[in-house]
């Protein structure tokens, strides 16, 4: 274009002026660790699969989820969701209903029959897995996906461990459990039932196993010495819950007393109500705040008529009754006897004082270290004996299903490395995406969707599932409440707020790139990134 010298300038001529040299700080796109991922005992990439779910790609989300945890439908019902406790969204309105979306995906996978994609290569290595509980199933699943050939030897008649013999049906319907176990078996995992391993080394030799993962759980009820007349009916919680699986239901009578403060005590009391007990009383030596059981489960139990006897211990049990002593908490929070006694009518007393591990299979295995009734394992989940790994309730753990699944995965990865004679090095942890790194302004207020629950009448009489799942619209709505902490969700903010047009949009799915020729390092993009996925780094002068 011909126009006046210097007075009139050509379009685009400013691009010769690289203002990038003005920077003393440089923006960088980063991946920060979402608090939910950080809190998940099974190490799920929650933000990852939520971002797929919110786009409506439910199968993609399910596949991303199951890369770490093969039991989403189970998790959706039994996991205590520490992820939601850590969720940043609490700083805006309420945490994201991650657990309910996880369940929705698990249920859809079962309904649609999605299967795991079998591994491409086979290693030819055989791994023994002892116990078909959550830890064993998880380990076997991961080993199979890594191309090995795991075989599960289960002492009991059916798979699931605590999931079947510890958690009542109204919490976890067996159809759901069986469907997810079946999917693992379909992957080529062999499970042998009624096959108790008593001599580990012998079993490994005979089966030609290159490594072993022990996950026998803790099924032996803790005994407390309580003087009891021989006619008195005293049972242990594990036995009562396990017998619910068989044909002959336990006869507990009209008035049932459960002794203990954990989740198992609640499960037994609520099972007793459903079996027709008029009174189900839980006797616990300390107070509600000190109770190990989760408060929301206690709420559900109280709604169903279960009664609590706080600060009480059982002195002795007679036929049809028992005597209880009142306790008081000392300044350190420990219960001290007061000498005040009271008698309660009870047709049966169930002891739920925790469980121990049957470590008999470990006799003769050299190098092990047993402490407080559980086998000690290293960071790599390996016991003192080379090639022998352990996890779940039989190793030091919070004793939840999710922790067990996490142990299984972690062990599998270490076994995989062990089989190749290498050491598994976990990926370095990203910086945590804490709330103050986000810009909460950009998220609209949206209250959490509460999962509908079964009406009370049917809850106390049947074993139907108490908490229902979300339908698709609610699940999608809930997934879209996720703030995508620390990871870009392509909201175009950086692209839009740059005064220098120095952010290049690479198109859907490809994110953005900084044009450092022109970026002046002002930091507006970093301040206005909703999810804290941009960090300002000092420029090396």
């Amino acid at each position: 274009m011909d126009h006046d010298f210097a007075v009139t300038l050509d379009v685009g001529s400013s691009l010769a002026n690289h203002t990038g040299s003005w920077r003393t700080f440089r923006p960088e796109y980063v991946h920060r660790l979402p608090p939910c991922n950080h809190a998940c005992p099974a190490g799920e990439d929650i933000q990852g699969w939520l971002s797929l779910a919110e786009a409506g790609d439910y199968e993609g989300a399910w596949r991303a989820l199951t890369r770490n945890n093969p039991l989403p439908a189970v998790m959706g019902r039994v996991c205590y969701h520490p992820c939601e406790t850590a969720c940043n969204r609490a700083g805006i309105d309420a945490s994201v209903g991650i657990n309910s979306v996880e369940r929705f995906l698990g249920d859809m996978a079962i309904a649609k029959g999605w299967a795991f994609a079998p591994p491409t290569a086979k290693s030819g290595k055989k791994v023994l897995v002892v116990g078909a509980g959550p830890a064993g199933l998880s380990a076997a699943y991961h080993l199979a996906m890594l191309g090995h050939s795991p075989t599960i030897k289960e002492a009991g008649p059916a798979p699931g461990g605590m999931m079947r013999f510890g958690i009542p049906k109204y919490r976890l319907p067996r159809e759901t459990l069986d469907a997810e176990v079946a999917r693992i078996v379909a992957l080529g995992v062999a499970i042998e039932y009624d096959c108790k391993v008593s001599d580990l080394r012998a079993t490994m030799r005979e089966g030609g196993f290159d490594a072993a993962f022990l996950a026998v759980g803790a099924h032996i009820a803790k005994r407390a010495y309580i003087p009891a007349g021989e006619a008195a009916k005293v049972l242990d919680a594990v036995q009562v819950l396990a017998s619910m699986e068989g044909e002959d239901r336990p006869l507990l009578g009209r008035r049932v007393v459960v002794y203990g403060g954990g989740n198992t005590a609640l499960d037994v009391a609520r099972t007793a109500k459903r079996l027709g007990a008029e009174e189900a009383i839980i006797v616990y030596r300390r107070t509600r705040e000190k109770m190990p059981a989760h408060d929301f489960e206690l709420e559900e139990a109280l709604e169903e008529g279960v009664m609590m006897k706080w600060l009480s211990t059982i002195k002795n049990v007679e036929a049809g009754s028992l005597t209880v002593e009142k306790m008081v908490l000392d300044e350190k929070g420990f219960p001290q006897p007061t000498g005040e006694l009271e008698t309660l009518e009870a047709d049966s007393v169930v002891l739920a004082l925790g469980q121990d591990v049957d470590l008999s299979l470990l006799n003769g295995v050299e190098g092990l270290k047993i402490e407080k009734g559980v086998v000690q394992v290293g960071a790599n989940m390996m016991t003192g004996a080379a090639g022998v790994f352990a996890g779940g309730d039989m190793a030091p753990s919070e004793r939840t299903v999710t922790v067990a699944v996490g142990h299984g995965k972690k062990a599998a990865r270490n076994i995989d490395a062990f089989l190749r004679g290498e050491v598994y090095a976990p990926a370095p942890k990203h910086e945590l995406a804490s709330f103050e790194k986000l810009n909460a302004w950009y998220y609209g207020e949206a209250p959490k969707t509460v999962r509908p629950t079964l009406e009370l009448a049917r809850r106390s009489s049947t074993f139907e599932e108490v908490v229902a799942g979300l339908d698709e619209s609610n699940a999608l709505y809930e997934a879209r409440r996720c703030l995508s902490c620390g990871n870009c969700f392509e909201c175009d903010n950086c692209y839009g707020v740059c005064p220098d047009n120095a952010v290049i949009k690479l198109g859907p799915g490809n994110g953005f790139k900084f044009n450092y020729d022109f970026c002046k390092g002002c930091g507006v993009c970093a301040s206005e990134c909703p999810c804290g996925a941009i960090r300002m780094e000092p420029e090396e002068i």
Binding site: T19, S21, W22, R23, T24, K520, E539, I541
Partner: protein, 192 residues
């Protein structure tokens, strides 16, 4: 007549630095003239400031083409422009950095200058330490006094106190003192 050219960026106190140097010379009864590179410098954009010091009235009104001392207040400018154009053979070079001359690929430039005429000083770090702000101009003044001996250090202190009254002044003087000591040490080291 001794001519100084200072290179930095808008908002870093480059012009104030040249002005303070002229005040220091004035305190010692000498003629001094400081002026900016006259432009609409934006925060962050390259900026140049000049200072002339002489024993008789300075009448000259042209920019400094051949400086006796070149102060590089912001090394990022090395990527942007040839800051050393016209620096005299027996000139002085003062660079604000916590790196070495080799890191900044300035070995060739330094060799051409007489020994002890080129020094580095972490003025920004000193400013952050004392003044809590990345304004290295006062510290560079302390370094300049030590490097060239053209002005006494106490004149520099009085000039800083005049420009920054009160607490900020003291903090800047402390930064200038550190810089002065650092460069004096470097000078003694090269002299030995």
């Amino acid at each position: 007549m001794f001519q100084v050219r200072i290179h930095g960026r808008g908002g870093q106190g480059v012009v104030t630095g040249a002005e303070m140097l002229s005040v220091a010379a004035f305190i010692e009864g000498r003629h001094a003239q400081a002026f900016p590179s006259f432009g609409s410098e934006r925060m962050g954009a390259p900026v140049i400031a000049f200072c002339r010091i002489a024993d008789r009235e300075i009448r000259l009104r042209e920019p400094v083409q051949d400086p006796d001392c070149l102060v590089l207040q912001d090394p990022t400018l090395l990527k942007v422009m040839d800051v050393f154009s016209g620096l005299r053979e027996n000139g002085f070079l003062l660079v604000n950095t916590n790196k070495t001359f080799d890191d900044l690929h300035l070995g060739a430039i330094v060799e051409k200058l007489p020994a002890g005429h080129a020094v580095i000083v972490p003025a920004t770090d000193l400013a952050l330490k004392h003044v809590k702000r990345a304004a290295p101009n006062a510290a560079l003044l302390g370094a300049f006094a030590a490097l060239t001996g053209l002005v006494h250090f106490d004149s520099v202190k009085r000039a800083i106190a005049e420009t920054f009254p009160g607490r900020i002044g003291e903090a800047n003087i402390a930064a200038a003192q550190d810089a002065y000591d650092l460069v004096m040490a470097q000078e003694r080291a090269t002299a030995a």
